[in-house]
């Protein structure tokens, strides 16, 4: 992630083009391996996460390669891939909600939920509300759908993180590694919006024309994907590591 900022401008593009899909692909493979640890809804949850991560990884590699061959259909193709991918992520969330009981949120959790709802909805719709000349084209439709879907995901996923914090204080019923995976998805979805909003509010925050303005979103994406990968890897190894702890303590 730090490398993204430190690399020379010419190398940054290559670095991002390799690391982003690679992190997603590794995440996809790990999500499939994690799915094998579970049955019923939880297995399905991780299968949809694997589908999401893999499609995303492949799209990042394939789309630039076929961009010129698709001509006028490029926009529709990208939108179709995005819709399929979001469908996988939404199904991931639906199955996740079946497994994680958000009805058990405490008062503070519901306050956080309401705040997340308001902020996410605002981040999703403000460009459509405040910009003049908003036409209903394929590009603007794609833009709007992506923002609304992202907001929806954050609204669904934030309570899972809060449930972990809540149970951490109580009976420690939530999984740290699973929460890390969810946090990775939230980071990769939300932080770019927050950064864009920050730049909008403070236009002089970065020097004019700095390539960092374009690099930071990718850096945040890579960070989010790596958090997902680390979370999945730790989840995969949890049985083994937990038992090693016991063995070590018992000598």
């Amino acid at each position: 992630m730090i490398a993204t900022l430190l690399l020379p401008e010419k190398l940054t593009g290559v670095y991002i083009a390799v690391i982003e899909p690679l992190a997603l692909l590794i995440g996809g493979i790990m999500a499939i391996l994690v799915a094998r640890l579970y049955a019923k809804q939880l297995k399905t949850t991780f299968v949809f996460l694997a589908i999401y991560l893999t499609i995303y990884a492949l799209a990042l590699v394939i789309i630039p390669l076929i961009q010129n061959n698709l001509g006028d259909y490029f926009g529709i193709f990208v939108l179709s891939v995005q819709l399929v991918n979001y469908a996988a992520l939404v199904l991931f969330c639906v199955y996740l909600l079946k497994v994680v009981d958000i009805r058990k949120l405490d008062v503070m959790g519901w306050v956080m939920f309401a705040a997340t709802f308001l902020v996410s909805t605002f981040l999703a719709v403000y460009p459509m509300l405040f910009y003049n000349g908003w036409d209903l084209t394929l590009n603007t439709l794609s833009f709007a759908i992506v923002r609304i879907m992202d907001a929806l995901l954050i609204i669904i996923l934030m309570p899972v993180i809060w449930l972990y914090i809540q149970h951490l204080k109580a009976q420690q019923k939530q999984s740290l590694t699973f929460t890390l995976v969810i946090a990775g998805i939230v980071i990769s979805t939300l932080f770019d919006y927050l950064f864009q909003t920050l730049i909008l509010i403070f236009p002089n925050l970065l020097p004019t024309g700095s390539h960092i303005v374009e690099v930071v979103p990718d850096m945040l994406y890579i960070f989010g994907y790596l958090v997902i990968v680390v979370g999945l890897y730790a989840h995969l190894k949890q049985d083994e590591w937990g038992f090693q702890m016991i063995d070590k303590m018992l000598g």
């Binding site: 579970y38 049955a39 019923k40 297995k43 009976q171 049985d239 016991i246 303590m249």
Partner: protein, 366 residues
């Protein structure tokens, strides 16, 4: 619940954990050692149960709470991640059985093996209903006992408590097979408290039932040294202390007063068995018997009209806690034994505690 006794129970669990981690090799009783005959815990708890059938539910309740509390503490001490069994109900059966078996064997089977309580094994899991089948061979609670029903309440509760702590779920357990009924091993079924089948069957299991157990036959078996299980006839003093403490912790004062009378009756029956085995009626058989059972180092002597009984290395008192309630059964038992062996009525004139010892003076009843 008596908080001092709760602390004693927690200390015993902690000491057991330290022993399997080879961090403690303390011997509580230098002369008699840290094991005693199985018939000692059995004689006490079964006599109390026969006199008060509702004790089954009380033992179950206190043993459940102490096992639950201590299993949780143990897992934290072993640095086991608190979310280790996260979403266990979504685990495939193979993973659930293998992982749970590994943890149970490494920690709790090891503790119970060391205490010579029995050989614990997780046999089967029904993930859909969250039910567990546990086998317990060479069970210290019932080895050598013949009873009309399953009687291992302490272990049913202990297993339910351990699984509750591991899975962060309220669980219950009952016994489906018992060595006391002639089965090869005791088999327990554990499940969630809100599972109707589990709650009904646990309720039936704990329902007060009059027990008639031939303790004289059982004591005779121990005196003759007949092997009762593959792991031998001895059990650790820590198990004994857990059994005794869990039997009386719900109301120590009340149990102490009733234990004296029950112990007295037990002592009188025991006298017949000792007379028959040792072929003598002198007070010396008391010393021989308790030494043979590795229960007490006791000397009995006549002092004028009185009888003085000096006890060292008392199994109940060989811990930091000097609770009189813990020895009330023993006091009654000795009183009954002396009365039956001498054919005379006695009153307890003096009793005093010190270290892990006890001094009793009996005077002829006027």
């Amino acid at each position: 619940m008596d908080t001092e006794m709760e602390k004693l129970i927690d200390d015993i669990w902690n000491s057991s954990l330290n022993k399997i981690a080879s961090k403690e090799s303390r011997v509580a009783r230098p002369s008699l050692g840290d094991e005693l005959d199985l018939s000692m815990p059995q004689g006490r708890t079964l006599s109390l149960l026969a006199a008060n059938p509702s004790l089954a539910a009380l033992i179950y309740h206190s043993a459940y709470l102490s096992a639950n509390r201590n299993a949780y503490i143990i897992m934290r001490k072993l640095n086991m991640p608190p979310d280790y069994f996260w979403k266990f109900e979504f685990w495939p059966k193979e993973r659930a059985l293998e992982t749970m078996q590994r943890v149970i064997n490494r920690v709790f089977t090891a503790i119970m093996n060391q205490n010579k309580e029995g050989i614990l094994a997780l046999d089967d899991i029904d993930i859909e209903h969250m039910r567990f089948v546990i086998s317990f061979r060479d069970c210290a609670e019932c080895a050598g006992i013949k009873a009309q029903k399953a009687i291992c309440y302490y272990h049913a509760a202990t297993f339910a408590g351990i699984f509750s702590a591991l899975l962060c779920k309220d669980m219950d357990g009952y016994e489906t097979k018992c060595m006391a009924n002639g089965d090869n091993a005791c088999i327990f079924v554990l499940g969630k408290k809100d599972d109707p089948e589990i709650s009904v069957k646990t309720g039936n299991y704990l329902a007060p039932t009059k027990l008639s157990i031939k303790m004289a036959e059982r004591m005779s078996e121990s005196l003759h040294g007949n092997p009762l299980r593959s792991t031998g006839n001895m059990v650790s003093i820590q198990y004994y202390q857990l059994m005794i403490t869990n039997s009386i912790i719900s109301n120590p004062g009340l149990f102490a007063s009733s234990s004296i009378n029950i112990g007295q009756e037990y002592g009188m029956r025991l006298a017949d068995v000792l007379r028959d085995f040792y072929k003598e009626s002198s007070l010396g058989v008391i010393t021989k018997y308790y030494n043979q059972m590795h229960y007490l180092d006791v000397s009995v002597k006549e002092s004028g009209p009185d009888i003085e009984i000096e006890i060292k290395e008392c199994a109940e008192l060989s811990s930091v806690l000097q609770k009189r309630e813990l020895v009330s059964f023993l006091l009654g038992e000795l009183h009954g034994l002396v009365s039956a062996l001498t054919g005379q009525q006695w009153t307890m004139k003096e009793k005093s505690f010190g270290g892990n010892g006890l001094f009793i003076r009996l005077s002829p009843k006027v």
